[in-house]
């Protein structure tokens, strides 16, 4: 169960990007790789939010939440047509 991956949307405080990065996508990737070697970016968001979507285990999601500049790690939600 602990290894089961779910999709999360990660909200990032872009203003907190370390000076060592010149591109926010590299920073996002670095943050992600720090908690999961295998996780891949599903989407990188630039306009609707600052952040990205990825697949993580619950433990990885918890670890990512503690990384600098990470605002929220929100689980995927399924919406329905009305």
């Amino acid at each position: 169960v602990q290894q089961k991956k779910n999709t999360y949307i990660i909200h990032v405080a872009k203003s907190q990007m370390p000076a060592s990065f010149d591109d926010h996508t590299r920073w996002y990737d670095s943050s992600l790789k720090s908690v999961s070697e295998s996780a891949e970016m599903l989407y990188t968001y630039n306009n609707a939010i600052h952040g990205f979507a990825t697949r993580l285990t619950a433990q990885e999601a918890k670890s990512l939440q503690d990384q600098p500049g990470i605002l929220y790690v929100l689980p995927e939600v399924k919406y329905e047509l009305h």
Partner: protein
């Protein structure tokens, strides 16, 4: 749609703005199940070049190429990465991995919002006429985010992200998912970014009515749309062996029933299942229903599926009876067999007959399309209702629009019932839901934006809300809620039913800027992290500054006296024993046009003498365009039991315009 242009007075607007072509500069983005580009509603004959502002694309994929776009359907994209990450690769034998709509819902909503004019439209001859979207000259961009397995938030957010980059003007989302707080709701967060870019965002309120607290899409930067009926019906009478007749509705077209009464059976008595009355798959005993008309109760499984179940078991016809959840609301369906849907009262009487008569018989008589039905509109029973479960101080829904028995474009991939066993293919279909009312408002927002390109999303919403009507034009009685048969309240209809021609010239608007929304978040006591989650920026709420939701410049008033007495929320209050006093402020902007001045006077109404509403000043004089004037409303009331609601209305008028706001006071 073939009736709403007349019902909403849009034909009249053609005379008001005969030369206006600025609507063709407006791009309406629809996030849904994709698009059937062969629909005549996307014919681009006569349309000028695509707006230079457009940065979007027409993506290729299963059965879809860039050639499927044109000057009407200017964009088509699909977002499935999140969906596939969760559910595995899309099976292209079951759904198109492309913008193509295999469902019909997305084609229906996009053509409702901004479909071109198509003559001779109908569903099997029902609702015949010239079909058109609300903004028939606007451009359409579709973003497919919903698949067989649902609509995933990572895909929805990616579509909003793309739509913003593509430079759309209107976002239409006929979907929802629970009631998470704004900083945890992807649609709310994405909509905030869109709003900042001047994009008007309208969303469906949900179909969980008539229970209270059932609304979706509650953020105040979203326009939340409930559903009402048109003045059109599709009568199909149920005639019983005892001589009684009951009116129902149907969109059935096909072989008629024999010209005689047929044996009639209650599904609950033709099944071994405890819920056999619902006509769910596999529950009917064929020997007991063959050649008979079957009475099924509404609920649990789709209405059209019940018809398919009866047909599959050998039934000759079906009477579908509403239960208390639906009351007298009659939603018509293109059933696969002769069928009629009847209201709860009729259903109860028919059930009494079929259960008590030794040899019950019945037949169904189909009458086609009738218009001019009164009263109309009535609030649909299914339309989700307030109060607002997240921020009770903001009244939702914002308004209602047509959402019952709406005809619009349809996919060629499935029949009008959407059932796999339905072999029919139609160009137009008639369906119901707040999914259908939302794109009406999206298109009407495009219509208003075409006339006023510089108006903010909040100004457009204000125009739509303050000109909405809450009483019938003939006779002046209050709008009816079909679930109760009584007058509806602002919790049901918000500011009222949309009145687009009046919205073109509202006189005054309640405008809102991004900073106003940020201050609203401060008033909610959001942390800086929560604000950053919604608004993508560091925003410091002033330590010594008082933020008040009561002073948030929304076009409606929702006053929670209990909250105010305790000390939370906004405005000022004084407990004073048994009497509460709350003050709210608003600012109106003059958009009346012309160089002359205008003086507006206020009028106030309430449903209870226990509530006193005063406005200071009671007269506002504007001398130039875009001039702003503020006023303060004082609500005072004696103590009432908890959960009591009273309603009212504040109207400003200069004799030419009426700028109305609903009022809700709750304890």
């Amino acid at each position: 749609t073939t009736r709403t242009p007349t019902f909403l007075g849009l034909e009249q607007s053609a005379n008001l703005f005969p030369e206006s072509d600025s609507e063709s500069d407006v791009i309406v983005a629809v996030l849904d199940t994709g698009v059937w580009p062969e629909s005549k509603s996307f014919d681009d004959t006569g349309m000028g070049p695509v707006p230079a502002s457009w940065k979007g694309a027409c993506e290729t994929g299963t059965n879809f190429t860039s050639n499927h776009c044109n000057k009407k359907l200017i964009g088509a994209r699909y977002f499935s990465t999140g969906y596939e990450a969760t559910l595995g690769p899309i099976d292209v034998t079951k759904e198109s991995k492309s913008p193509r709509d295999d469902d019909g819902h997305g084609t229906h909503t996009s053509t409702t919002a901004a479909g071109a004019i198509v003559g001779g439209a109908s569903l099997f001859g029902y609702a015949s006429g010239s079909a058109r979207g609300m903004a028939h000259r606007a451009r359409v961009a579709v973003y497919k985010v919903c698949w067989i397995g649902g609509c995933f938030s990572s895909d929805i957010l990616a579509a909003i992200d793309g739509a913003i980059a593509d430079n759309v003007n209107i976002l239409s989302l006929s979907l929802g998912g629970g009631t998470a707080d704004y900083y945890r709701d992807s649609v709310a967060i994405g909509a905030f970014s869109a709003m900042e870019k001047g994009i008007f965002v309208s969303c469906s309120a949900g179909n969980a009515g008539p229970s209270a607290y059932t609304l979706s899409n509650l953020a105040p930067w979203i326009t939340t749309v409930g559903a009402g009926t048109l003045d059109r019906d599709f009568p199909a009478y149920v005639s019983l062996g005892n001589g009684q007749n009951f009116s129902g509705v149907s969109l059935y077209k096909g072989d008629s029933l024999p010209a005689k009464l047929l044996p009639f059976v209650y599904a609950g008595n033709a099944s071994n299942s405890t819920n056999g009355n619902l006509c769910m798959t596999g529950t009917l005993i064929p020997e007991k229903v063959k050649g008979k008309i079957v009475l099924c109760d509404r609920g649990i499984n789709p209405r059209v599926q019940k018809g398919a179940v009866v047909k599959g078991a050998g039934g000759a016809g079906m009477v579908l009876a509403n239960t208390a959840a639906n009351g007298e609301e009659l939603v018509a369906d293109a059933h696969l067999l002769p069928a009629s849907t009847v209201g709860q009262k009729s259903g109860d009487a028919i059930r009494d007959y079929v259960l008590s008569d030794a040899n019950p018989t019945a037949t169904i008589l189909f009458e086609g399309t009738k218009v001019g039905i009164e009263p109309s509109p009535v609030v649909a029973a299914f339309s989700s209702r307030g109060p607002n479960a997240i921020t009770p101080d903001i009244l939702k829904p914002d308004l209602i629009a047509p959402g019952v028995n709406i005809i619009a474009g349809w996919t060629g991939a499935v029949g009008p019932t959407g059932l796999a066993e339905d072999p029919r293919r139609v160009e137009f279909n008639i369906i119901s839901g707040t999914s259908m009312s939302c794109p009406h408002v999206s298109g009407l927002a495009a219509f208003v934006k075409g006339a006023h390109p510089d108006w903010s999303p909040a100004a457009i919403r204000s125009a739509l809300m303050t000109t909405a009507y809450t009483a019938y034009k003939n006779g002046g009685k209050k709008l009816i809620d079909v679930s109760t048969g009584k007058a509806s309240t602002p919790y049901d209809h918000g500011a009222g039913h949309v009145n687009p021609v009046a919205a073109l010239n509202p006189g005054l608007v309640y405008d809102l800027t991004t900073e106003d929304y940020l201050n609203f978040l401060c008033a909610l006591n959001y942390t800086s992290m929560q604000i950053q989650g919604v608004a993508r920026r560091n925003y410091s709420c002033g330590a010594g500054k008082t933020y008040s939701i009561g002073d948030f410049n929304y076009p409606s008033f929702s006053v929670s006296l209990q909250t105010q007495v305790i000390g939370g929320g906004g405005g000022s209050s004084s407990g004073g024993g048994s009497k509460s006093v709350v003050k709210h402020t608003r600012t109106l902007t003059n958009v009346g046009g012309g160089s002359g001045g205008s003086t507006y006077k206020v009028s106030i109404s309430t449903t209870s003498p226990a509530v006193k509403i005063t406005v200071e000043p009671d007269t506002l004089t504007f001398t130039k365009a875009y001039e702003k004037k503020s006023y303060t409303v004082t609500f005072s009331a004696t103590s009432m039991p908890s959960n009591t609601n009273e309603f009212g209305r504040i109207e400003w008028s200069d004799g030419k315009h009426v700028v109305g706001s609903p009022v809700v006071i709750s304890w």
